[in-house]
């Protein structure tokens, strides 16, 4: 048993899951916004980065990790709501290129602002758990307490979002506002509020993701911390289907595992090529995403 857990392949799977849940969270953030407003939020990573800075850099370094995490989440929620109200609301119903340009522009603005305020020097964030891998019989297992914390956090966030959407009145209204805004208004749903809330939730998930990413010893927090992670999260969302939260979860984790094997058995420089190749193939075979389903008539 111990030899299995310490084997190279199992190490790749565990490392892949740890990276993959991060991609899943980014993908989930994108899906939440896409489902409600049909806008691809290219600034999502940068918004998450700002929230992480507010949580950790603004507060004193000695601040408790969990307090800082909570502040980052609140900052993320606020930034999401503000972005929807101030920038995005005027883009509804406009040509598709308008929100793309606006959100790419917003990404650049946020990264520049962060660099101006906090500089581009990487800041190491405190980690609540050890980043040293566990060992079995003096052989390392490719899993640390911090990696396990990342996985558990991602699972908890996704479960909470899933329960909210599937089993609460608010979730029903959020889904209805996204799928049929005009009909929802005729049923008394305040669609504007639901769209703002959708952006807040997405940005809150993003803030958690950015804190997890920045807490990683090798990454730290910089204005561009989320750029690479966002790219893989975006690929995961596109492969899974921008309408599918389940797709975000499964494709994010799958992508993480596949890329871990690529990095281990081929070359770490090939990772982005393989990811883009997977995206192209998936868009050719299932343009709407692997997990987007079509309803069958049943009488």
């Amino acid at each position: 048993m111990s030899s299995v857990l310490t084997s190279r392949n199992v190490a790749d799977v565990l490392g892949g899951i740890t990276n993959g849940v991060i991609y899943s969270l980014v993908a989930l953030s994108l899906v939440l916004v896409w489902r409600s407003t049909r806008i691809l939020n290219f600034a999502q990573g940068a918004m998450a980065m700002i929230a992480a800075y507010i949580g950790f850099a603004v507060l004193a370094p000695s601040t408790n990790y969990w307090v800082s995490m909570a502040v980052a989440i609140i900052a993320g929620l606020a930034l999401g709501g503000l972005t929807e109200r101030v920038i995005v609301r005027g883009l509804y119903g406009k040509p598709e290129i308008n929100p793309v340009v606006a959100m790419v522009g917003f990404l650049l603005v946020l990264e520049s602002v962060a660099a101006a305020i906090w500089s581009t020097t990487s800041r190491g964030l405190p980690t609540p758990f050890s980043i040293v891998d566990w060992q079995i019989n003096h052989k390392p297992v490719a899993l640390s307490p911090f990696a396990l914390y990342e996985i558990v956090t991602a699972v908890v966030v996704m479960t909470v979002i899933a329960l909210l959407f599937q089993f609460t009145k608010l979730g029903l209204k959020l889904r209805a506002a996204a799928l049929a805004p005009e009909v929802s208004r005729l049923l008394g749903v305040r669609v504007g509020r639901m769209l703002t809330l959708g952006w807040m939730l997405s940005s809150g998930v993003g803030a958690v993701t950015a804190v997890l990413v920045a807490s990683n010893y090798f990454t730290g927090l910089t204005p561009t911390t989320m750029d690479g992670v966002f790219a893989f999260g975006f690929i995961a969302a596109a492969i899974g289907g921008l309408d599918s939260p389940v797709g975000a979860l499964v494709s994010g984790v799958s992508l993480g595992i596949i890329l871990q094997f690529v990095g281990d058995y081929l070359n770490s420089n090939d990772i982005i090529l393989v990811a883009l190749g997977m995206l192209i193939v998936s868009l050719m075979v299932r343009p709407n995403g692997v997990f987007t389903r079509s309803a069958q008539r049943r009488v």
Partner: protein, 236 residues
């Protein structure tokens, strides 16, 4: 009682409604008839707040609805079943109904039971995705979803569109019964003038956005000129 007073609506240079005035009395069915492009759908969308009139008002009893948002107008008791039904295909039957019930003064359980009693087929298919329903079932679901909010006025836009004659007859019968048993006021927009006039007590005929007739359904049904020129009904 719901009243439209001097409603005019324009879409750019196109005037969709011109000085439309009529009253739908409480507990009655008022049919709004006319050919394609007459302004029937625009009239309902203006009443429910989806379209803002250039001039004129809509009032429910003593309350002016004009200027209010659709989500507030529905809370005042004006339900709207839009053209094409507007059921959310990705939702189950019960999820569609739960959405409609959110502003209802009745408990969810009582509301659902009431709708399943009126439309038993929806009870049988409650866990089924709305996308899998037939056209008639979807229309029932759209009506039930509006009715579960306990409205006092129901705006029905082309409920017979795309339905078989038998299904249309059943639906019209249900609308008529609901009106009689609950005191609901119904404004029924229909291209199928014959079916609508059969259950309506009053009829308003629109032509290019203007009211060309506003009388009892019986009188409109007997008016050969109206039937021939505005409703496309050939004299038999």
């Amino acid at each position: 009682m719901i009243r439209a007073n001097g409603l005019s609506v324009s879409y750019g240079a196109v005037q969709a409604l011109r000085d439309v005035t009529f009253t739908a009395e409480t507990g009655t069915i008022t049919a709004v008839l006319g050919a394609n492009g007459a302004g029937k759908t625009t009239l309902l969308r203006t009443i429910s707040g989806l379209v803002t009139p250039r001039s004129g008002t809509v009032s429910l009893d003593e309350t002016t609805l004009t200027g209010e948002r659709p989500e507030d107008i529905v809370r005042r008791g004006v339900g709207h079943v839009p053209e094409g039904r507007g059921v959310i295909a990705e939702f189950t039957v019960e999820e569609n109904l739960r959405l409609g019930a959110m502003i209802s003064p009745m408990s969810l359980r009582d509301g659902l039971n009431q709708q399943y009693e009126w439309f038993p087929v929806l009870g049988e298919r409650r866990k089924q995705a709305a996308a899998t329903l037939s056209g008639g079932e979807r229309q029932m679901l759209a009506m039930a979803r509006a009715l579960i909010a306990q409205p006092t006025v129901l705006l029905l836009d082309e409920p017979s569109l795309g339905l078989a004659p038998l299904v249309t007859a059943q639906l019209m019968h249900t609308v008529s019964e609901l009106c009689t048993t609950t005191g609901l006021t119904v404004i029924l927009v229909e291209q199928n003038a014959k079916s609508a006039l059969r259950i309506a007590s009053r009829a308003v005929v629109l032509y290019l956005g203007r009211v060309v007739a506003d009388d009892t359904a019986a009188v409109v049904a007997q008016d050969d000129q109206l039937r021939q020129y505005y409703l496309g009904m050939v004299k038999q």
